[in-house]
């Protein structure tokens, strides 16, 4: 495949405080994250000519034209590229991909890509009686047929997939728990992680309360306030900035359609085909993975779908500590969304940037030439692959 010379790299990374952080609005967190990313790159706001925004659930009306809202909030002038995008958890990868395509087409030089959200509210002074979580969302479709059966929320939709995977392939709670334990172990080396300083054993995983059985609470990702932005820059300009460029070596999308309950598969195979072809790489070249992890189960399926193991063998693959610190295949080295923070597809991209640069501190992987980053949205509905590396294509 012939590639244009321009190429593109991630040159700036901005991560706000994460978790139970109150005060800024969702748009405010987006601005903060972009400002941090510009500082990290050694760029100024006037250098930006592209802005791609993934509004989280709490954006409300501002989500409609989210990139314009951020542009106005920052006082940015004369952008050449602007869009709010939404493919759920695959959006972050798709934003980076869109930025690279625009840069390679000569239509932008420095594109900020940002996700932010502020769904958590400060605790009330008086202790409420602790009713159900997410009830406001449920009421919105309480007139529907599924609500009549008590079928609410995304936890249940992924739990259905997990129930079938367990039935078809013999996947166990020990397998799912191994993923939770591995990510928590990584999080102990990530000072930004919401579970930093809180270790987890497999026994404690098993003891955590049920949410939507077969999912324990600790099969499910965190909820976080905060923002995370990256700057994608034209290759020739990337080399002269403050940090070593993190090159976009390969990229692809895959959105399979149909019913995932039948296939138990994501769009990873389709997305990976384009990404690995572009990078001229194979799985054997991947030094570490940052995989979208809304649930432990999502990691298991994603490992299968990239071909690290055969379909159905994800459980045994992760069971022996292979993906944790010191394991043969480092996965979600910052603790992922299960144990660090939930910035949708930006969580894995941000950690990959840290690892490729070699800024991982106590969690830095030894070899970090090429990282595989996945995004996953809906219920295995949308998928993106990024291959990020130390050298250009």
């Amino acid at each position: 495949m012939e590639r244009r010379a321009a190429q593109a790299a991630i040159t700036g990374l901005g991560i706000t405080e994460q978790g139970k952080v109150y005060g800024p609005s969702a748009v405010g967190f987006a601005v903060d994250a972009i400002r941090l990313a510009l500082d990290d790159a050694g760029l100024e706001a006037k250098d930006l000519d592209g802005l791609l925004v993934n509004p989280g659930l709490s954006w409300g009306q501002a989500a409609q034209m989210g990139s314009f809202a951020v542009q106005q909030a920052m006082g940015l002038r004369d952008l050449r590229l602007s869009a709010a995008m939404n493919l759920g958890g695959a959006t972050a990868g798709a934003m980076v991909m869109q930025a690279v395509l625009a840069i390679e087409a000569g239509l932008a030089n420095h594109v900020a890509c940002v996700f932010s959200d502020a769904p958590l509210k400060p605790p009330k002074p008086r202790d409420g009686s602790g009713g159900g979580s997410g009830s406001s969302g449920a009421y919105a479709f309480a007139g529907g047929l599924e609500a009549a059966y008590g079928a609410f929320g995304v936890n249940g939709l992924y739990a259905l997939l997990a129930s079938r995977h367990m039935h078809r392939f013999g996947t166990t709670h020990d397998h799912l728990g191994a993923i939770a334990v591995a990510e928590r172990a990584w999080a102990q080396h990530n000072p930004r992680a919401q579970f930093h300083g809180k270790t987890l054993t497999l026994a404690e995983y098993h003891a955590s309360r049920w949410v939507a059985e077969p999912f324990h609470l600790l099969d499910c990702c965190l909820v976080s306030n905060g923002g995370l932005a990256v700057i994608v820059s034209r290759g020739d300009r990337a080399r002269s900035l403050a940090k070593p460029p993190v090159w976009v070596r390969g990229m692809g999308q895959g959105h399979p359609g149909g019913d995932p309950l039948e296939t138990l598969a994501s769009g990873a195979p389709l997305a990976a085909r384009d990404a690995f072809a572009m990078a001229g790489a194979t799985l054997a070249d991947v030094d570490f993975c940052e995989l979208y992890d809304c649930y432990t189960f999502t990691v298991l399926v994603t490992l299968e779908d990239y071909g690290f193991c055969a379909k159905g063998e994800g459980g045994p693959f992760v069971a022996d500590g292979r993906i944790g610190p010191g394991g043969a295949l480092p996965v979600n080295t910052g603790g992922g969304q299960l144990s660090s923070f939930y910035m949708w597809g930006m969580t894995p991209i941000g950690e990959a940037v840290i690892q490729v640069r070699g800024e991982g501190g106590g969690r830095q992987v030894a070899k970090h030439d090429l990282g595989l980053v996945s995004g996953n949205g809906g219920v295995l509905s949308t998928h993106t692959t990024l291959l990020l590396g130390r050298e250009p294509r």
Partner: protein, 138 residues
């Protein structure tokens, strides 16, 4: 249970769902059938995803199928289910092909499993006959 128990949600008789609810009222389980290519589908949709036709009719199905997937809900998303948690939510694969989100009744938790043969029953809820499923002989 108590007199103050919050009512569970009742499906709205939208134009899309009305034929389904009417059939249930008459003790029949119905799904959509594409008027052009004959593909069965549920829940109701505007067009056939196979041939894109808007031609549609409703057809009765046997009401027999098997549990295809399930989870046990422990979270309270709606006050009507406070007294029910934990309760199973199932996806039933009908013998005719389509799948349906529902509940299984007359089935202890330890008997509920993927592959369990089930048949439809109708539960009264505020004037609506709500299709649910119960175990049957294979």
């Amino acid at each position: 249970m108590s007199a103050t128990e919050f009512p569970k949600p009742v499906p709205k008789a939208t134009p899309e769902l009305l034929p389904f609810l009417d059939a249930a009222r008459a003790g029949r389980l119905a799904v959509q059938r594409c008027g052009a290519c004959g593909t069965l589908r549920f829940p109701p949709r505007e067009l056939c995803s196979r041939c894109w036709s808007r031609e549609v009719e409703w057809t009765d199905v046997s009401g027999r199928g098997e549990v295809f997937a399930f989870y046990v809900m422990h979270q309270v998303y709606h006050p009507g289910f406070v007294a029910d948690v934990p309760y199973p939510v199932v996806v039933v694969k009908l013998d005719e092909g389509p799948t349906m989100v529902s509940n299984v009744v007359d089935c202890p938790r330890e008997k509920l499993r993927i592959g369990l043969p089930v048949e439809v029953v109708f539960e009264e809820r505020e004037g609506v006959a709500l299709p649910k499923f119960r175990p049957r002989a294979p």
